[in-house]
């Protein structure tokens, strides 16, 4: 479980996050949603320590991450798997080498065990057959999935996914959503998904934070999100005709 209290973050005089309070539960798919530029990626980078917060605290299972030194953070970091918005695959390594990399660095496994585990993860993201290609030789959506495979290969206790299904076709997106949900429930992972995809939110969101202009404007579960009564969230949720239709139908019943 991760608890975020009163986090502020600014770049120069541009304030991006204001007093963020959030909590991400273990064994649940926690969502951070919000419009482009609302600060979702910055918040995630603060939580994993890629950016230092200006104020506030971030607790991993009760331990205050923000007050730890880089070295003291290492044990927590080894439990983190992260899918970056842009994939961030190592371009000098093949797909398989990318997925194996966290195991090579930190796991006590021989080459064969590593390969088996990595192939298993590639299979779960429907990428068997692509293992010997380089990141530049596969499509954007495939890169995202390789990155997800790399994030989950070490069975992380904390999984962060920055827009896991942007750039994926709807069918593949559902496969990825289901994978994230299954892993979370199977291993009791504390999963944080960043998304603007209402489909995923409704499908797999257990605990949802809506970020608006650097503040948490609403928090609740997927049932509550359709009737939050928060104006900005309603605009976000009902941005598409399809969602408005669904709302009409639900109210008509």
């Amino acid at each position: 479980m991760i608890k975020v209290r009163g986090v502020d973050k600014a770049f120069g005089d541009k304030a991006v996050l204001h007093g963020i309070d959030a909590s991400f539960e273990a064994g649940q798919v926690n969502f951070i949603i919000g419009r482009s530029g609302s600060g979702k990626s910055v918040l995630t980078k603060c939580i994993v320590g890629l950016l230092e917060v200006d104020a506030g605290e971030i607790k991993y299972a009760g331990e205050d991450f923000t007050s730890l030194s880089t070295k003291e953070r290492e044990p927590i970091r080894r439990q983190i798997g992260m899918l970056f918005q842009g994939g961030a695959l190592f371009d000098s390594m093949t797909v398989l080498e990318n997925v194996e990399f966290p195991l090579r660095m930190f796991a006590d496994m021989d080459a064969e065990e590593r390969r088996v585990r990595a192939m298993e993860c590639l299979k779960r993201v429907e990428l068997e057959g692509a293992e010997d290609r380089f990141p530049a030789e596969v499509s954007g959506g495939m890169q995202k999935r390789v990155a997800l495979a790399r994030a989950i290969v070490g069975r992380p206790g904390y999984l962060f996914c920055d827009e896991p299904n942007s750039g994926l076709d709807p069918q593949t997106a559902i496969v990825i959503d289901n994978l994230i949900r299954d892993l979370t429930h199977e291993y009791g992972t504390t999963t944080v998904v960043i998304s603007h995809d209402m489909n995923s939110v409704i499908e797999i969101g257990d605990n949802i934070h809506f970020l608006h202009r650097g503040r948490v404007a609403w928090r609740g579960d997927r049932k509550g999100i359709l009737n939050s009564g928060v104006e900005e969230l309603d605009k976000f949720v009902y941005a598409s005709d399809l969602m408005r239709d669904i709302k009409g139908k639900l109210q008509g019943r």
Binding site: L50, I80, F90, F101, R104
Partner: protein, 245 residues
């Protein structure tokens, strides 16, 4: 940003780079890859340049021979120039254009595409992981390339003396042996090692602290070459003053 800021950050960067590798096997493998990238792929250009340079110095010196300048001066001059300056200084300067820009753009691209963030999040110490293999590879391979340059340059001098009938082989052979000081080679190799460290670390430093996109990666790689060359020149002066006087 001030010079002091860069100096401070550079030394902090080096301290991080010189930490013990987290995983020996991964480190060894990366070092082998770098040896190939820095060394094997530079062999061709080093060989080519040294051959031409040795031959040209021989011709230029032959041009002075006659009167009070004896024929064996050709071999002597080629040897001294190759050993003292061309191989250990000019070759690294040329390699800084190749190796330095390569290191800076590779690490810079990793930075702007969040590959370095990905390493950090996993708990990998990115500076030492990326930089130490390059430093070690440069330190091993530069002296090797420089010795090759010395041998080929002196060899090319002998060849052109014969081919263009500049002097007899015996004169040339006498010239390359006369007043030979082993310390000159030691001096050359010491400075080569220093230059290797400067080029690899300064380039890695500029690559690592890139932010932005492709344009900034290009800029970092230019800076890497410019700063490396300037620092090599300064170090050359200091080392020469310390060791040869």
């Amino acid at each position: 940003m001030g010079l002091l800021f860069h100096i401070g950050r550079y030394f902090a960067f080096m301290a991080a780079a010189l930490r013990r590798p987290q995983k020996g096997r991964v480190f060894a493998q990366s070092t082998l890859i770098e040896l190939e990238a820095i060394g094997v792929q530079s062999l061709g250009i080093v060989a080519l340049l040294s051959l031409f340079m040795g031959a040209v110095i021989a011709i230029q010196t032959a041009h002075q021979v006659g009167g009070w300048v004896p024929a064996y001066t050709i071999g002597f001059t080629v040897r001294q120039t190759m050993i003292l300056e061309f191989a250990p200084t000019i070759i690294p300067v040329i390699l800084s254009g190749k190796v330095g820009s390569n290191i800076a753009s590779q690490i810079g691209t990793m930075q702007v595409t969040e590959q370095i963030d990905a390493l950090e999040v996993m708990g990998v110490r990115s500076i030492s992981h990326l930089v130490l293999p390059k430093l070690l590879a440069a330190l091993v391979i530069f002296p090797f390339l420089v010795v090759i340059a010395m041998v080929l340059g002196i060899g090319a001098g002998a060849w052109i003396c014969n081919a263009a009938d500049l002097s007899s082989f015996a004169d040339y052979e006498y010239g390359i042996q006369i007043d030979f000081k082993a310390f000159d080679v030691a001096y050359a190799l010491i400075k080569t090692c220093v230059f290797a460290l400067i080029i690899a670390s300064v380039s890695a430093y500029h690559g690592y602290y890139t932010s932005g996109g492709a344009r900034e990666v290009g800029r970092s790689s230019t800076k890497a070459v410019v700063y490396s060359v300037v620092l090599v020149m300064v170090a050359n002066l200091v080392i020469t003053q310390l060791l040869l006087t």
